[in-house]
Symmetry: C2
Subunit: 364 residues, 2 copies
């Protein structure tokens, strides 16, 4: 190995094993770009990997480089690349296909076999490093004016996919004009979901535990949504006061809420489940009432994970719309900034603090 | 009132109040047909109405004429009717619109306001009478060769709608080639669902409590599906032995199965819920595991009730296909025949006996 670069890695399955590691200097092959990393977002999945609940190293490797929410700058391109140039800002998608019929049709996010890899999560190194290479088909350009918020494209893509899926599913209806939405949870996914649904013109009720004032509540209210603390109004009481709930995003990470969401959903409504709940919690559920309500109201509950490249592109466009409607609002989701390698050991602290923590690699 | 006709009615809310009643002789108005009833099927909803758990009389009336699964013969037509002639065989749809946007767009089965009426169930008289009138838009022609099975079109329409909705929902996928289905329950809906899915070429596993041999098991096996008694193999054990379960129909009437279905559903699969569970049962549910499975597998749970006119038309066509593939099989669902008015008091006994009970009005 010649000159190397630094990265932030864990030993999967070994809790608290975050460390700075040395990686081979990446060089772009044909159709690839070399991307210099500017910043990387930290999310709940990273925390789960750090806590050894999730995550696998690449085949043959002992460690996994973390990070799947990236903003970077193209430093060089390999042979055959015509769509990107050095200096371009990009983010990167996360999942790589396994050759199943759905992946082959271009829907990697709906992979049927489940043998995909995910950069920074499952069997492939992530983006918490000085630089990385990637096939340009998995890189998504970010306009320079969105540099401060481009690191949010990946979490936004998850919400874009869920919303796009809801719309695709609702093509079953001759008429669907959603007016009222509930977002469960006010973490980054819940807030970005709130902004998306507000931008689409819906009345949005965003539920979280912590009473206002707090940074999440402030962002939600600035976008014209209603922030509701479940310590002040129960979900059951809130739903009784609402008109027909057309759409629910569940993003709390608490599976009980998925089932409360089924009870709150309105006629012809769609409940999109976005939380990967890693535990084995059980709960006493009113099975007759939920089933009857789903049947008589032709209601739908749909799980949604990951995102397609088109959702990343939609997310980029949407961030521009957010800036237009609420200048400076999206960037206020970034409530904590850590210094790339120096603060790597503090990533695990990110959970539960502020809204979104990012690692800055600009000067790394 | 001049000459009258006889009908079978209940006093809604009064258990065991089935009685023969006298009704005014119906006369077809403009765009209506007068239909002489040949036979009417009895279903679980009728039993619930007889047990006073469901059902409302028409506005201003004290009683509700039962029956929503009908085969009849057009006796006369009113002014403006060009699509039907005396002698034509017909069935009738059940639900009538309330003027909501979805009903106005022609999707009465997806009614948004919930103020619909349903003949024989909610606020409108049913078809258990010597004759009835109806706007021809709600009448569906039955070819004469399907006379013996035409009374099955209504329950089949419920399955047709669920299958059509599943296909509409799955247009979210670039590729959906379902191969394996599970049908929960082997009542008329479960059996008709089994036949439909077999006719579509799927491998079908139909679960019910009662071990074979029994009439339901015989029909299921003759259609090439696998009849599984849960007294011999548990649902959990069965699902572990199956490939990816692409589609589930839940038609047991037991809400716990809806949640077991969520656990059994495969990646990108759809669970269609068809049972209107009237009670208030609760159950201990593995909420984390179900939620996680739905999310990571992009899975869908969808309620489905009632049927559109197009589903009745599809049902008629499908019965013809059933006759072609399995001559005489569909009619074997009719395991009990009662004599119209003489046996009216025995309708309630229909539940739990054989597969489908019909009342014969041919000579009434």
């Amino acid at each position: 190995m010649g000159a190397g670069i630094m990265g932030v890695a864990v030993h999967p399955g070994q809790a608290g094993s975050v460390h700075v590691t040395k990686l081979a200097q990446p060089r772009p092959g044909p159709n690839e770009a070399l991307v210099r990393v500017r910043r990387v977002g930290v999310c709940g999945t990273d925390t789960e990997i750090i806590n050894a609940k999730f995550g696998t190293a690449p085949a043959g490797a002992q460690e996994l480089v973390l990070g799947h929410e990236v903003l970077g700058e193209v430093e060089a391109v390999g042979e055959g690349v015509t769509t990107l140039r050095p200096g371009d800002l990009v983010t990167a998608t996360v999942r790589r296909p396994d050759g199943c019929p759905t992946c082959r049709a271009g829907q990697i996010d709906m992979c049927l076999w489940g043998n995909y890899t995910e950069r920074g999560i499952l069997g492939a190194h992530g983006y918490m490093a000085q630089s990385f290479t990637e096939n340009v088909r998995y890189l998504v350009p970010i306009p320079v004016e969105l540099e401060p918020v481009g690191v949010l494209v990946e979490p936004l893509s998850v919400v874009e996919k869920a919303y796009r899926q809801a719309v695709l599913i609702q093509r079953r209806l001759a008429v669907w004009t959603p007016e009222t939405a509930v977002v469960l949870g006010a973490g980054p996914i819940g807030i970005l979901g709130t902004l998306l649904l507000r931008q689409q013109g819906l009345q949005v009720y965003t539920l979280a535990r912590t009473p206002a004032p707090n940074p999440a509540a402030e962002i939600v209210e600035r976008a014209g949504a209603h922030y509701v603390s479940t310590r002040q109004i129960s979900f059951a009481n809130l739903r009784d006061s609402l008109p027909n709930v057309d759409l629910i995003f569940e993003s709390t990470g608490a599976s009980a809420l998925a089932f409360e969401g089924m009870e709150a959903l309105g006629i012809n409504g769609v409940l999109m489940l976005l939380s990967i709940t890693g535990g084995d919690a059980e709960g006493l559920v009113p099975t007759d009432a939920i089933n009857r309500s789903l049947v008589l109201g032709n209601k739908i509950v749909a799980g949604s994970v990951n995102a397609a490249t088109e959702d990343f592109a939609r997310g980029v466009k949407r961030l521009g719309q957010f800036e237009h409607e609420w200048p400076g609002l999206a960037v206020s989701l970034i409530t904590d900034r850590l210094r790339g390698f120096d603060d790597a050991h503090r990533i695990a602290e990110a959970a539960g603090r502020g809204v979104k923590t990012v690692l800055e690699f600009a000067d790394a």
